[in-house]
């Protein structure tokens, strides 16, 4: 593994690269799903390969190969240099990288129970138990359950002499109950939509989720939604559940703080950002009670954005993003940090696999917990809608105008949770929304949620990101927007 990676670095150097880094990865995945009492998918995959990134003639090139031999590694290195020299035909200035120290280290992510050691039959038995509970409820027309395990072993070498080996395990699980009746399809998911909850941990995550215990409630809610009132429309207060707030953070904080978007690198696809450079340390992004960090360290938790070093060999960091409501930090790379005069990268470069270049991606972008308990927050609330579990999400290409829909809502009247509501939706403008936050629940209700399917880049890359969040209240929000005609 190391020998041909070193050979690739040497080939790149000989052919004119002034910088090079290599990632060799071995990615194993096991995916198991059930549907309406049957196993739907049982599959395993393994993908191994090497990618080399170079700067030559002052520009970037990248090439990859699945053939882990010195010959192919050298060929990929040579190709990367050829590509870099082609890039240089259009350069305006040489690529400049913020400095980093050489690192030699290895790291293993947290994992108490290796999910690949858990028999598939055990996983299937658990999922079919969940399935049985879901379909016991009249009105449930489709019960789906899935578990997803990944084992990622990566070796990083760079021309500054870094050598970093990182091994991590990721686990995800969840289910949904769908109910079709009349002219309506309703769905409830647990513990979250997008396939459930995901973290950088082992099977112990699944043991903690109480999948079977929550199934009856989820199924009953799916069936009951048909008879519920439509969520009303108007300007009103809302309380968002922790998982929904996690997605709100992802879309309206996590993405706009990616410095490559700010600088225009994603203009053709994922979009740009309203957080132009003069707003740093100036913009009142949110209410003063809001504090947000981008924290890849293990101390923050075992989120999908947890690691020891990013894919440029930069150590994991905790970067303040919003402090007392003020915007104070970006997610950056060595190149983007240098281009805006920052001394160091924030360590946010991550690649989907060995065949993709690293891009600035979210790590664990989390709101710090407040002080409320949810029951007290509801008791304090006169008139609001409590919304839970995301169903739809959309935001403009600079991250201002957003709209979300959730699976279920409840009306809160005079401090009490009253009628269940169907088809809740809300929308707004990012900074106006975050400035309307006036209460955040505390650590007991704070969870480090995992979003496994963030998309960015060309060619597109999917990345897992973490978002710590607790329920929170927002005032005077436009509700019911999606169904208003």
């Amino acid at each position: 593994m190391k020998e041909f990676a070193q050979s690739a670095l040497e080939t790149a150097r000989v052919r004119g690269a002034t910088y090079a880094d290599v990632r060799v990865m071995d990615i194993r995945q096991r995916f198991i799903s059930t549907k309406n009492g049957q196993a739907a998918q049982v599959r395993e995959s393994q993908s191994v390969g090497m990618g080399i990134r170079v700067i030559a003639d002052g520009a970037w090139g990248f090439a990859s190969t699945e053939d882990l031999t010195c010959a192919s590694a050298d060929a990929a290195a040579a190709k990367a240099v050829e590509i870099a020299k082609a890039s240089a035909l259009c350069k305006k200035h040489d690529v400049n990288l913020a400095p980093e120290q050489r690192v030699v280290d290895q790291w293993q992510g947290p994992c108490r129970i290796d999910p690949f050691s858990v028999p598939v039959s055990t996983c299937l038995d658990l999922m079919l138990k969940v399935d049985a509970e879901l379909r016991r409820v009249a009105g449930v027309t489709l019960a789906e359950c899935a578990m997803d395990f990944r084992h990622i072993d990566q070796l990083f070498l760079s021309s500054i002499g870094s050598e970093i080996r990182q091994v991590k395990t990721q686990t995800g699980a969840g289910y949904s109950a769908t109910s079709f009746a009349g002219n309506e399809i309703q769905r409830r998911s647990y513990p979250n939509s997008f396939g459930g909850q995901y973290q950088t941990r082992g099977y112990e995550l699944i043991e903690e989720l109480d999948l079977v215990g929550n199934a009856p409630r989820i199924a009953e809610e799916a069936a009951a939604l048909h008879a519920c009132d439509q969520c009303p429309a108007g300007v009103m207060d809302i309380i968002l559940s922790g998982s929904q707030l996690g997605l709100q953070i992802h879309e309206s904080i996590g993405h706009p703080i990616e410095l490559d978007r700010v600088l225009g690198d994603e203009a053709n696809y994922a979009g740009m950002s309203f957080l132009t450079l003069e707003k740093l340390n100036q913009l009142q992004y949110a209410a003063p009670i809001v504090n947000v960090v981008a924290d890849a360290t293990v101390q923050h938790g075992s989120g999908l954005g947890t690691f020891a070093y990013d894919d440029e060999g930069v150590p994991a960091q905790c970067t303040p993003i919003i402090k007392d409501g003020r915007f104070v930090g970006y997610l950056s790379s060595r190149e983007s940090a240098a281009s805006v005069g920052q001394a160091r990268s924030s360590g946010a470069m991550r690649a989907e696999g060995w065949n993709r270049i690293p891009l600035i991606r979210m790590t664990n972008v989390s709101i710090l917990p407040g002080t409320w308990r949810l029951e007290d927050l509801m008791a304090d609330t006169k008139d609001a809608i409590y919304m839970e579990t995301n169903r739809s999400w959309s935001i403009d290409d600079r991250r201002y105008n957003f709209q979300f829909g959730t699976e279920i809502g409840w009306e809160i009247k005079n401090g009490k949770k009253t009628r269940m509501l169907k088809n809740p939706s809300y929308g707004g403008i990012t900074t106006e929304f975050w400035n309307s936050c006036d209460a955040i629940c505390g650590p007991e209700e704070w969870t480090l949620w995992g979003t496994p399917n963030c998309g960015k880049g060309q060619p597109m890359q999917t990345m897992g990101t973490g978002h710590g969040a607790a329920p929170a209240r927002f005032r005077n929000v436009q509700v019911g927007v999606a169904y208003q005609q």
């Binding site: 998918q41 049982v42 993908s47 990859s64 259009c90 489709l142 070796l155 959309s394 403009d396 600079r398």
Partner: protein, 468 residues
């Protein structure tokens, strides 16, 4: 753990001048050899092997410079085993003998862990496929330098108008082979290319994109001119009130919306009542001028002439005169529903069943210019963005306009407008189509390519605006 693989004698790092590594590219001979090895190690009742290779390069630019530039090669083998009415799959790109044996054993072991499915059909036998020629060697081999030279010209075009260009130019080749132990054998290779460009003015933007099997058909300079013109014309956008407007949707916008209905035309989706067409088969759901079919052999289409099990793709009329005439069916779904398979199934095992992937929507004789001239008050939309489904049965979609949104009054484009959010039922929209152009191959960002017209639609619902 990463395997060491074979380590041949080292050659000097200078090596010979870079020569393309052909190991990764699939051909029939390599596919045959790999399948023979699979058969050697598989003891399953039935065995299927899917082999795919990718050789792909993408040159990306932004801020009038090439900032990302990559190339990848990969070769994957995926083995599906059937053991006593149970099936599972194992996939890897490690293709040494030991790894192939491990893959076969893993697929069989996983299969044995499941409960038997008595409805699981035997694998299909040999099939006959219609020939499609979709591989252009020049496109497959286009060099980084050639792509960079084209991008340089596009950047010069941007700079001529003090614009900033961003986009991609990609090219490559994909190949796939599907074999099974009942002697089914299918093979397909295809070249791919894409050019997409966003032009940014200080307060305006424009976009254009094209894909195809031959890079020579992309015409990047025309795309650059189109995007530049929109960027310039959309400067200083005005804010308009949300509400219902007549809109003219360019083909990319139509395509990205229509993509949200693809899975709904699957038989299994209807059977499981998760489709917006559940209870609507054979009913007039759309306007009488809506004709949609799935046609993998249309000259502007892409993809293999077979599905995930190797069944030949059929042309299927999905919607005729607004009536939902047919769905598409994988073998298993067809068997459950008493229908004939149409060759649209996904690889087994899967939960979704099938979907049409080669949409062709009939159009009309209008042009976008005629649609504009005929519009008293409305909007011209270049593309739509971040489209998501709000309501699955109403097929209510939300999303934003982007990169070229213009207000039309009295038959003329008046000015650019700040982007708007829509909340619009696709079903309702297709009941308000007033005019259509001839269909063309369209490419967007939210769905797969389709052959669709531009269309003028009445009563399109915008719910809010944004700041740019």
């Amino acid at each position: 753990m990463v395997g060491a693989g074979l380590v041949p004698a080292r050659r000097g790092h200078e090596g010979c001048p870079y020569s393309r590594d052909t190991r990764s590219m699939l051909n029939r001979k390599l596919a045959d050899e790999l399948f023979e090895k699979v058969l050697k190690y598989s003891t399953a009742d039935e065995t299927e092997a899917y082999i795919a290779s990718t050789s792909y390069s993408l040159t990306r630019f932004a801020n009038n410079t090439i900032h990302q530039n990559m190339a990848e090669e990969d070769l994957n083998l995926s083995v599906r085993a059937v053991v006593d009415h149970r099936t599972a799959r194992a996939t890897s790109n490690k293709l040494d003998e030991a790894s192939i044996r491990e893959m076969c054993e893993a697929a069989q072991a996983l299969a044995r862990l499941q409960r038997p499915d008595q409805e699981l059909l035997r694998m299909p036998g040999p099939q006959t496929y219609r020939a499609v020629e979709r591989c252009d060697p020049e496109t497959a081999e286009l060099s980084p330098r050639a792509r960079a030279e084209t991008v340089k010209q596009v950047i010069r075009r941007a700079e001529k108008d003090q614009l900033t260009a961003a986009g991609v130019f990609s090219s490559g080749k994909v190949a796939q082979a599907l074999y099974n132990s009942r002697r089914l054998c299918a093979y397909h290779e295809e070249s791919v290319s894409e050019f997409s460009v966003t032009m940014l003015a200080d307060t305006g933007s424009g976009w254009a994109k094209k894909t195809g099997q031959r890079y020579q058909t992309l015409d990047p300079m025309s795309l650059a001119d189109s995007a530049a013109a929109k960027a310039l014309r959309s400067r200083d956008p005005k804010e308009i009130q949300p509400g219902r407007y007549t809109v003219i949707l360019e083909p990319s916008a139509v395509m990205d919306l229509l993509g949200f209905m693809l899975l709904d035309f699957g038989g299994l989706a209807v059977l499981e009542q998760r489709s917006c067409l559940t209870g609507r088969e054979k009913q007039k759901v759309f306007g009488g001028n809506i004709q949609i079919r799935d046609d993998g052999f249309h000259p502007s289409q892409s993809g293999a002439p077979f599905d995930g099990e190797g069944i030949p793709r059929h042309r299927v009329t999905l919607v005729e005169n607004g009536v939902v005439e047919n769905l598409v069916y994988a073998r298993q779904t067809a068997h459950k529903m008493g229908k004939e398979p149409t060759g649209h199934g996904f690889q087994l095992p899967n939960e979704m069943g099938e979907a049409p992937l080669n949409i062709v929507m009939e159009g009309g004789r209008g042009t976008v210019e005629e649609m504009i001239r005929s519009t008293e008050r409305g909007l011209l939309l270049t593309r739509l963005w971040y489209i998501r489904e709000v309501d699955p049965y109403q097929k209510l979609l939300t999303g934003m306009t982007r990169d070229g949104t213009f207000f039309i009054e009295n038959g003329e484009i008046q000015y650019g407008v700040k982007n708007l959010r829509f909340n619009q039922s696709l079903i309702e929209m297709l009941n308000h189509v007033e005019m259509m152009s001839a269909p063309q191959r369209a490419a967007g960002e939210e769905s797969i390519e389709m052959v669709v017209p531009a269309m003028k639609v009445g009563e399109f619902n915008f719910s809010s605006t944004t700041k740019f």
